[in-house]
């Protein structure tokens, strides 16, 4: 499903006399229509595609009208391309300031998956304006935020640009009664570990296995146990899904079977009914039961399919390896597990993900391991992945440990450069060098690995670690928890140093005082570069525990595969 489908489906477009819909791809659209309307993201490649169509029409003497609607905004570079291609006057351009897509009651997505690569790999600030505008929009809808916290360079810039816009516009939001107490902005690179872990809460697992697109999933024949696929919207409206989405996968089966038994019982009630009762039953309950039945069978089918796929993939072994990486035990063993994974040509994305997890938890790979894993990876999945490795190194996801001395020297120099933001000469190029992950130290400081006394009861979770089977509290969520608890960064100085800083905490006293008690407990968590369903589940849990409500704004929903694919250099 695409964002457009969520707003205007094909029939609505048809009603408005849209003749045909085409995907902007490499092939030109074979339409006979004399008006084209391109609804596109501002991308250079897309501009060339459009220019080719226009120029081909010109050559064949065909006249059409062309309109490009950029969403969420037009880029100067796009116009430059149109001008260069000689079609500037032939197309008209427009913008659709479409920033926010509510995926669910508490999730808003900007649907900008490219944000991640553009900002974190290429160092391009093109989407910061969009984030600022999204914040402005939320601010105008829900009133000023009482407190703003953030960590990460992009978070800071987005916040600054947004304040800038706000000051200038003397926004509509100012007069409104605040409905959101605080806002927390976080860069994805603050915590890569969480994004790289296999997800085991139901919604995350469904995303990892079937890929949820725009809040909807395509369940294939293996799930529906028929010969066709079904598109299902996954959100709070789905009565079955809403009860299992945040649960650890192991408790989902029990829930579903209990649910089916109840359903059976309700159906069975009709046996002893007289005519009148039967009539009532059919007119009032049957429809609901049928609906529930349909949903139940879908989710049961999904569970089965997940189980089947996961057993085939040695999921158990993989989770074990992941947990040892997180805890820092048996690194050798995990390394050889990854090696074997690569040698057997199991999924290239999984192999890459595990390598990154190893690197980031260990502050880089030992040179010998790095070389050998890289060589084997290239042999298994293709030499062109040399480029992928280069990307991963640049972004800091997969690095080679340098000899201790030199790194610290470079680091101190770099950190000086990095903090020198006077002339706006922040050195993104040194990003990866400066960003040593320090995961082990952070994990110790924040207690991310729960000490186990006995079994972790996944049905009655005691902390956010349940989203990773009780093995690990997601770092991103832990930071949010700590900062909200302390109402600032006091006492977290050491953690901040390890995280490479760029934190802020601002309070707007008028908004804070003006907010009702209920509004003060609403927290807008903004993830720049994507957030995972596991993180969402963890914060929902935290919200329940602490009596607050989290709303999520993310540039896109992400997971480990998407992060890896963004770094991967595809075969042409």
């Amino acid at each position: 499903m695409s964002p457009l489908d969520r707003i205007a489906n094909v029939s609505i477009l048809k009603q408005h006399e849209v003749d045909k819909l085409y995907k902007v791809e490499t092939r030109p659209a074979p339409s006979a229509s004399d008006q084209f309307c391109f609804l596109v993201r501002p991308r250079i490649r897309t501009m060339r595609y459009i220019a080719d169509i226009v120029n081909a029409d010109k050559m064949s003497g065909r006249s059409r009208k062309y309109k490009i609607i950029f969403s969420p905004q037009k880029f100067y570079a796009c116009e430059m391309v149109l001008e260069e291609e000689g079609v500037f006057g032939d197309v008209t351009c427009d913008e659709w300031s479409f920033y926010l897509l509510p995926l669910d009651e508490d999730i808003i997505s900007m649907e900008l998956p490219e944000f991640f690569r553009d900002y974190f790999l290429e160092g391009d600030h093109r989407w910061i304006n969009s984030v600022a505008r999204a914040l402005q929009l939320l601010n105008s809808l829900y009133g000023p935020f009482g407190r703003a916290y953030g960590i990460g360079r992009c978070a800071k810039m987005s916040y600054e640009l947004w304040r800038d816009l706000e000051e200038e516009s003397e926004g509509d939001g100012q007069g409104r009664k605040p409905e959101i107490g605080s806002i927390f902005l976080m860069d994805r690179d603050t915590d890569y570990v969480t994004a790289l872990c296999s997800q085991v809460v139901y919604e995350g697992l469904v995303d990892d296995t079937f890929r949820i697109k725009c809040g909807s999933v395509d369940f294939g024949p293996d799930v529906t146990s028929s010969d066709k696929s079904i598109k299902v919207l996954l959100n709070a409206q789905d009565k079955v899904f809403s009860q299992i989405r945040n649960e650890h996968f192991s408790s989902v089966f029990g829930f579903l079977s209990q649910k089916s038994r109840n359903l059976q019982a309700q159906y069975d009630r009709r046996r002893g009914m007289d005519i009148k009762q039967m009539k009532n039953f059919v007119s009032q309950e049957l429809k609901g039961l049928k609906q529930e039945h349909r949903l139940l069978s879908l989710h049961i089918g999904a569970c089965e399919s997940i189980m089947k796929k996961k057993t085939k993939q040695d999921f158990q072994e993989m989770i074990k390896a992941e947990h040892s990486l997180l805890e820092g035990f048996d690194i050798r063993e995990s390394t050889s597990f990854i090696e074997e994974h690569i040698d057997r040509q199991v999924s290239p994305i999984e192999s890459l993900r595990l390598m990154c997890l190893l690197s980031i938890t260990e502050n880089g790979l030992v040179p010998k391991d790095y070389r050998s894993l890289k060589t084997q990876y290239l042999q298994s999945y293709g030499p062109e992945h040399l480029l992928t490795f280069h990307n991963l190194k640049r972004i800091g996801l997969l690095t080679e440990q340098a000899a201790g001395e030199t790194l610290t020297a470079v680091e101190s120099r770099v950190s000086k450069l990095v903090t020198d933001r006077a002339a706006g000469k922040i050195t993104d190029a040194f990003n990866s060098l400066a960003r040593k992950s320090n995961f082990r130290a952070i994990s110790k400081k924040l207690g991310l690995i729960p000490r186990l006394d006995g079994e972790y009861d996944l049905k009655m979770p005691r902390d956010m670690a349940y989203v990773f089977s009780g093995a690990y509290v997601p770092l991103s969520c832990k930071i949010i928890e700590q900062v909200l608890e302390r109402r600032g960064w006091q006492g977290l100085e050491e953690v901040l140093r390890l995280l490479n800083g760029h934190e802020f905490s601002v309070s707007d006293s008028t908004a804070e005082d003006g907010a009702a008690a209920e509004a003060q407990r609403v927290v807008l968590a903004v993830f720049l570069g994507g957030c995972t369903f596991s993180e969402i589940a963890a914060l929902r849990f935290l919200g329940k525990e602490r009596g607050c409500k989290f709303i999520f704004l993310t540039t896109a929903i992400t997971n480990s595969a998407r992060v890896m694919e963004a770094m991967s250099e595809a075969r042409a």
């Binding site: 457009l4 707003i7 205007a8 609505i12 477009l13 408005h16 006399e17 849209v18 309307c37 490649r45 609607i69 969420p72 880029f75 100067y76 570079a77 116009e79 430059m80 391309v81 001008e83 500037f88 006057g89 008209t92 351009c93 427009d94 913008e95 659709w96 300031s97 479409f98 920033y99 897509l101 509510p102 553009d118 290429e122 391009d124 600030h125 093109r126 304006n129 402005q136 809808l141 600054e160 640009l161 509509d172 074997e340 040698d343 290239l378 042999q379 298994s380 999945y381 293709g382 030499p383 062109e384 480029l387 280069h390 993104d428 190029a429 040194f430 250099e569 595809a570 075969r571 042409a572």
Partner: protein
């Protein structure tokens, strides 16, 4: 306001597609509800019957060329506020004057950009004036005229306005210092779109060495230019820039990346050959060398095998026709292919597995895994056996594997190996528990029975009796073991 304009206003408002409004305070922007309506009103756009080639700039104004350039025209009846958004105005003298924004830039504005109508101007200049103008015609123009450059915004304001999608002429930033101040302001403004726009302007108006030099100390801007060049595919300029920055490894990688766009294998091979000499790290150089060698091999193998397959002389190709060509496949896939089709070939041939193993220094582990998978697929159990059998100097044979035997079992099982074959390997699994669970799972009864016997676990062995067929040899075996008085059961 002319009628046409009024219509246009109406059109914008009705369609909610007001790309950008001039009024800063108008802040409805794009509420979600509106977004919905916006799509619903698509018809308004598509159905627009106005046949004029309507061109709309960032400001929503009709323009003649790219928006921030000086060539833009605007209807002179535009209201003053809107007028600010356009660049150089047409029909200058009658146009309302706007206050200059910041005085510190007025000096440079004296040397400002070329005129909209240079030939016309200079002609009239020549007619009416004398002397000095020939040396510095710009200096001598009446002061009032400068005000025609309606957007004499300071660099900061220029950046701000561009951030909000408004038209701003950059042409008047002519001195290097002005350009750099503008760039620094753009970077400080945190909007990548504007940074790139300024860079496009700088790229057009500065010699590349100077641009490069200045970007070297402006890392954020530099990232933007590199990304821009990558996206627009200006490879040559990108390479020049990277060379200038001494980022030799990136130069090499960037050139190497081009091979992805070459479809023809022969050309690709030639290209890769050229890549070998590029300044990669020592480690990567060998990867590139391998890439080239691999493709070279694949081309040879492909040509041979296609011929073999077509001629129908080779049994293996008849029995298992190839599903895809081997070209551009990873090394391990190639090895699998060669173990599948060319297993018995002598080391001398390019397509033999041993040759591949030697050429690419494939580790034992990798080799065994791949060969095992290929031979198991063909159900060549003899080859599988040979793969793990080693002879010591006394001539005893022994089974050894560089990978765990549980892996071997798994691969064999996946290829539907018969129980006799499976159990030979199951009993080699060292870890007792794994061995038991594998043996139970794959019904290798003998292994289970022997293991329980070794464990002296009478209870489990007795329990296992119900898992075997009644009256079978296995049942008999269990019974005889259970009756064996010499075993000291632990339970």
């Amino acid at each position: 306001m002319s009628r046409a304009r009024a219509d246009e206003e109406e059109y914008w408002h009705s369609s909610k597609f007001r790309a950008f409004t001039f009024d800063d305070e108008d802040d409805e922007l794009s509420q979600l509800k509106e977004s919905k309506q916006a799509v619903n009103s698509l018809r308004d756009i598509v159905d627009d019957d106005d046949d004029d080639l309507e061109r709309v700039s960032w400001s929503g104004e009709p323009v003649g060329s790219i928006s921030w350039s000086i060539k833009e025209t605007v209807s002179s009846s535009a209201s003053s506020l809107e007028g600010r958004d356009s660049s150089l105005q047409k029909g200058s003298s009658s146009y309302a004057a706007f206050p200059k924004q910041v005085s510190s830039y007025s000096l440079s504005s004296l040397f400002r950009g070329r005129n909209k109508l240079p030939s016309f101007q200079s002609l009239s200049d020549a007619l009416s004036d004398t002397g000095v103008k020939n040396y510095a015609p710009e200096l001598r123009r009446p002061k009032a005229e400068y005000k025609d450059y309606s957007n004499d915004w300071s660099p900061k304001d220029t950046v701000r306005r561009m951030q909000r999608g408004k038209v701003c002429s950059l042409e008047r930033f002519r001195s290097l210092q002005d350009k750099l101040v503008l760039l620094d302001e753009a970077v400080a403004g945190h909007d990548g779109n504007v940074i790139t726009a300024v860079l496009i302007f700088l790229k057009r108006t500065l010699r590349r060495e100077i641009l490069f030099r200045e970007l070297e100390v402006r890392q954020v801007a530099l990232c933007h230019l590199i990304h821009f060049l990558k996206e627009t595919g200006e490879q040559k300029l990108l390479l020049d820039l990277l060379r200038f920055l001494d980022r030799t490894e990136e130069v090499a990688l960037s050139q190497y990346r081009e091979h992805l766009n070459i479809q023809d294998v022969e050309k690709r091979r030639e290209f890769l050959k050229g890549c070998i000499g590029l300044p990669f790290s020592a480690e990567d150089t060998s990867h590139i060398q391998d890439h080239y060698t691999l493709l070279e091999r694949q081309i040879i193998i492909e040509a041979n095998d296609r011929h073999l397959e077509m001629s129908g002389q080779s049994e293996i190709f008849r029995k298992y026709p190839r599903k895809a060509s081997i070209l551009n496949m990873p090394l391990v896939t190639t090895l699998f292919y060669s173990c599948f089709y060319h297993y018995t070939e002598a080391e001398g041939t390019f397509s033999s597995p041993t040759n591949l193993k030697k050429t690419f220094k494939i580790p034992d582990k990798q080799y065994v895994l791949t060969a095992l998978a290929a031979r198991a697929k063909l159900r060549a159990w003899g080859d599988v056996d040979a793969l793990f059998t080693t002879k010591n100097w006394l001539g005893y044979t022994k089974k050894k594997a560089p990978i765990g035997f549980h892996r071997v079992v798994e691969i064999l099982q996946r290829n539907n190996a018969p129980v006799q074959v499976l159990q030979e390997y199951v009993c080699l699994v060292e870890d007792v528990e794994t061995r038991l669970s594998l043996a139970t799972k794959y019904k290798c009864h003998d292994v289970v029975i022997e293991t329980y016997k070794d464990l002296k676990d009478r209870i489990q062995l007795t329990a296992y009796k119900c898992k075997v067929e009644r009256g079978s040899a296995e049942e008999e075996k269990i019974n005889s073991i259970l009756n064996n008085m010499q075993i000291r059961w632990k339970n």
